[in-house]
Structure formats: C-alpha cells, structure tokens
Symmetry: C2
Subunit: 312 residues, 2 copies
C-alpha cells in the first residue's frame, strides 16, 4: 500500500490533479474543465469523484493539497476569483476533509510553487528564499525561517503588484506601474511592440515571449533590447526585495524564463548593480527545477505532504 | 529573588544597559562611552563589570540581549561596524556566555525594536507586522509567522536601502535614491532646505525634523510641503512592502515621528492611495508604544526573554 496525496491545481481553464508519492512521483492524474462550472459544490463533487476513480487498490490517500487563485489559506476557501465562473466563497478544505477524511490544505499558485521547489526542486533544505513566477501575471512566494510567509490575511507575496514606476503602465489592478505590467509575458510583449514601433515605425498586432526569444536568437537587436529593459526593471525589484528578506536564493519560473541567457544574463547583471553592498554576490539567481507542466501539481502535493507530516 | 535580563544597546557614542524584568520594568541601568574603546575585549570586560555591579542580591541574571550595529545574529558577533572604533569581529555572544553563563542573543537595533514592540509594546500578540525606525538612517525589522525575519545571513530588514528613485539622491551606501535619503531625519531636513531655496531663494545651513515640525505648527507651508513629500515617498515604500509580507500593522519609531499628524496624516493617505486593493484599509499604521530612550534596551531585553523562554 503506497501512501499518496492529491496535488490539485485549479486554473481558469482546466483543473488538473496528480496522485503524488512522497518523492514527488506522479502516479496518476486527470483533469476537469474548470470553465464549465458555475457551482462550487458540483465542481467539488465531480473533482472528488475523478480523484476517487484514479485511486487504485495499491494506493492510500493521506492528504490533499490545492493551489488556486484568490486562495484564503487561513479559511481554506477560494474567494470571489475574478477569472472563474464559480462566484462567492468556495469551501474547498472543509468539503474535501469531509469527503476524504484526510488533512487538506489550500494556498495560491505561486506559494504552492515555492513549497514545491522547497520539497521537490532546487530549494531543498533552504530556509530563506523566494520564487517569482512570470506568466500572465507575476506571482511570488516567500519562504523565511523555513516557513511560507502568508501574512496576516494569507494574501502575502504579491511582488508583481509592487509599483516600480508610479507614472508607468496601467495595470489590471487599477493602479499604474506595477512590476507585472513590465515583466509578465504580456508586459514583455508590450515592450517589444513599443520598441519595434519606436525603432522601425512598424505596428505589430501581437507577439509572445517565445517569439521574442526566437527573434533574439536571430540577432534582432529589438528583441535583445526588450529582454535588457525587462531585466533592468526586474533586477531592481529583486535587489529591493533582497533588502527585506535577505534570501540565499531567488527562483524564477514561467514562460519568459525560457528566453534563457537573453533574460537571465542581463537580469543577474542589473540585480547585482542595484544590490546593497551587504547582499552583493551572495544571492543565487536560479531557474526553477520543477517542470512547467507539473509544477502546480507538485507544489500542491508538497503542501499536502508538509501538512501530513506536521499532523503526525 | 527577581529574575532579570540585561538589555544592552550599543550605539556609536554610548552603550547603555538596563536590568529588566519579565514585564519590561527597568530595575537598574548604567552606561559606558562606546567611542572610548578600540579593543572589543576590553570593552566587553568593562561592560560585564558594570552589569555585575548593577546586580543586587535580590536579582538573578538569567539572560543577556544585545542590539548593535552590523550585527551578525547567527554568529553572535558585531562585524566591522563602520561608525565604531572597535574594528574586526567582536564575539559578544560567546564572551558574555562565558562571563555570565546565561543565554545571550544579539541582533541589530531595528530588529531589537521590533521584538521590543512585540513583547512590551503595541505589537503584543501580533504575528505579522513590521517596524520602521526613522533616525539618522532608516532601519526596519520584520516579523512574519510570529518570528523575526533574519534572512539567510541575518542581514534582512534594510528597508531604508530599497531604491525608490533610481536617479535620486546620493546615499551613504554608494547608490542613488535609497528610501533613507528622503525619509531619515537628515533626508527630511535636506528636503526642507531644498524646498526653502526653491520657494524663497534662501539658503539654509542646516535644520532638523524637530525644527521643521515647529515651523509646520506655525503654519509654514514649506514645512508642511516637506512632510507631505516625505510621506508620499514613505507611503509608496510601505504600500510596496505590504505586497511582500501582508502585515496587519506597521509601527513607526524615531525622531521624525514626533512631527505627529504633519507626517502621519499624509503618510496614511498616500499609503492607502498606493495600496493594492487586496490590502486597502486593512493595515494599521501606528506609532511605537516604546518610549524613545528605553526602546533599544527594551528591545534587547525582549530578545533575551524570548531566548530564555525557548531554552527553559
């Protein structure tokens, strides 16, 4: 009988889960279309059913971990997630504990990714680090003294919404100049479009960080300038954040990180240029060791394993 | 027999200590001229002697807490403090544990102030808050999950050296635009001098935050503008920091805080204006409840009491 936890990643389009052992091996997985559901209770029942179906006689479910948007970790609920049809407060933890009678834990995606890195990835044994997830938005998860920093209301870790240019780009949050308006996948694309128009007069309709990376590989100076500009803004944010938590490592995760040295080399350079002398050349900047497609599942599974071990 | 700890505050000019009971009452205190010493060992011996002299037959010393500049908490040492004559690495914790045979703990002044607030001041029972000390510099101490955030090297909490204006004022750390160049006592004075010259052409030699407060009370619009400008910069820094640690409270400490509503009213206004919606109107901005002259002693004493309780 192998003990497993269910690591669940609730995304705007799909919800995926993996039955995961203590070493981070995913033994079975399945998915649901999140977008189909407007009723939290029906969603929970369907999700519980496909988890039960995936469990074999050789597996014993000992915990459930959930990463989701607008997670209230302390209450175990998802609260008014703006990108989902399920409105109101969805009591995932209470309901899964009723259905499966195992410890259940819930947090937001970036926090889950940080714990995943700590348990299964490059942050094993680290007590002070943070994770920055570059995607549609920019998320973050902070670990200090070996524990995830939830903050008083469980909403800590919104590095993407620190204001880096008070008169800067308009952000979805209603304010201006948030880090994510420059360093998310769409922020980087916007920079490339703006620089292309500035240098060539050409108006691009759209692009993506992967296409910009291909352009950089071809030697397109606008693509290289785009990553340099992105790196300068992110490098300052990382240096400033180091002043608060003094991490040993910063992990980067998400699509734009695939730009590799085009982004990472200037990022390291600017981060060190902006760094207070106390922290200079001490902080490792690393790419996450979790594979993209499994990171959210492994993060949620890692949280569940942590909770199972604390409970006994 | 009353149990006491020695709370020691090592400053550039003076070193003061207080024999402090569990309730934060200082039963006896004395001081030394730090500036007289260039040898750490002789300083430690003299300090130990005046502590021994202050102990009466009714007191039992059970711990020692030390707040000092350039504190390496993990090593228990003060390292190359630039403003002291004592150079090199001074092993305070090791030596005091040898002399008094009691648990000894060391950290920097702002961290000590945060713990003092948590044990004896307005942060009793709080698990997630931070303290900003406005003085010659701008220090900070962060508490997350009920624990002080030391960071991987014990140098966390340098909020004063986050860069708020990359092309801004020159800072003592060698970089430009650090928060403390605008919001320390001397930063505020500099703003008043600059604004006075701009508005009146008059070149002031020097001033201080207390004098500017008196001017504000007289209705001097330049003094009021000075506090407004300071509040705008500090308010943005506090709002950005909230994104990282999501505190329930922010405590302010130090000379400029005596400007009262001239600083605090615009600070609260700008902090809320810059705040991400998730945190808006949730974070209490409070003045420290520790009296200035005893704060450093009480902070160091609080650390010692924490350590005594963990050990015993």
């Amino acid at each position: 009988m192998k003990e497993v936890v269910a690591g669940i990643d609730i995304g705007g389009t799909n919800t995926v889960f993996g039955l995961t052992d203590r070493e981070g091996v995913i033994l079975a997985s399945d998915s649901l279309k999140t977008a189909k559901y407007d009723d939290g209770e029906i969603f929970i029942q369907d999700l519980a059913r496909i988890i039960s179906n995936a469990l074999t006689d050789e597996m014993k479910l000992v915990g459930v971990g959930i990463g989701c948007p607008n997670a209230n970790h302390y209450e175990g609920t998802m609260e008014n997630a703006p990108n989902l049809k399920m409105k109101g407060i969805v009591p995932f933890v209470k309901r899964f504990e009723e259905v499966f009678s195992v410890p259940t834990i819930l947090t937001n995606d970036a926090n889950a990714a940080a714990v995943g890195e700590m348990i299964f990835g490059g942050a094993k044994g680290l007590k002070n680090f943070f994770m920055v997830t570059l995607g549609t938005g920019v998320g973050s998860g902070f670990v200090a003294n070996g524990e995830l920093v939830y903050g008083h209301d469980s909403f800590a870790g919104e590095l993407g919404h620190t204001i880096v240019l008070p008169e800067g780009r308009m952000c979805g949050c209603g304010r201006r100049g948030c880090l994510e308006t420059y360093t998310s996948a769409s922020g980087i694309a916007k920079t490339f479009i703006e620089l292309t128009e500035k240098h060539t007069g050409q108006k691009l309709e759209s692009t993506g960080s992967y296409e910009i990376m291909l352009e950089a590989e071809k030697g397109n100076p606008i693509a290289i300038e785009t990553f340099d500009f992105t790196a300068k803004i992110l490098g300052l944010a990382l240096a400033n954040t180091a002043c608060i938590t003094s991490p040993s490592h910063v992990f980067l995760f998400g699509g734009p990180v695939k730009a590799g040295h085009f982004l990472l080399d200037p990022l390291k350079k600017y981060m060190e240029e902006y760094m207070l002398f106390v922290y200079k050349n001490k902080i490792e900047l690393q790419v996450s060791e979790l594979l993209d497609k499994n990171a959210a599942i492994l993060g949620a599974a890692a949280l569940a394993w942590q909770k199972v071990e604390v409970n006994g």
